[in-house]
Subunit: 104 residues, 2 copies
């Protein structure tokens, strides 16, 4: 199976970055229950007060696609949408290996 | 401690991407022994035959800095340098939380 990876940037509405980070980290807890989600890492950029970066790795693209219809994801979208001013897909990648990934 | 994250792209010399991936994945095995290295994920982009992406998370910036002088890193650099045509730092970030990160 080809692993499926995404790296993207959210631009938070003015002054809402930390709230957005909280919502995304909360959502990542729901991912703990989903085996096909290997990584869901939420980061900030200390030089940019409005950006939140998410790096995701899924067992394959189908698993990621299926996750979009999960209740946890729908809840995330509802909570986050009002405070998201922009989104940018930086990379769509195929993780091959390395520390932190499941083998195979 | 503020975690330290990097997301970067290597451009491999013509036809050398897979060799570069092998070298980087091999290097990531050495990272298994380094607690401060939480993630070191090597990926490719199916639409671009020459690019290799590395997503790294370290316990802090000092740990990452210290890793540059490790033998494993020096070996990686020696092996990889001849087949690297370019490098690009896409993001320098502070991972906050999420699936795949150590707590705290």
């Amino acid at each position: 199976m080809t692993k499926f990876g995404l790296y993207g940037k959210f631009t938070a509405a003015d002054g809402k970055r930390d709230t957005l980070v909280e919502i995304l980290v909360e959502a990542s807890k729901a991912m703990e229950e989903i085996n096909e989600c290997e990584l869901y890492v939420v980061s900030i950029d200390n030089t940019d007060p409005d950006s939140v970066y998410v790096y995701e790795v899924w067992s394959d693209e189908k698993a990621h696609q299926a996750s979009l219809s999960l209740e946890a994801t729908q809840t995330l979208i509802q909570h986050a949408k009002p405070i998201i001013a922009g989104t940018e897909r930086i990379s769509t990648i195929s993780p091959i290996g390395g520390k932190g990934l499941k083998e195979g």
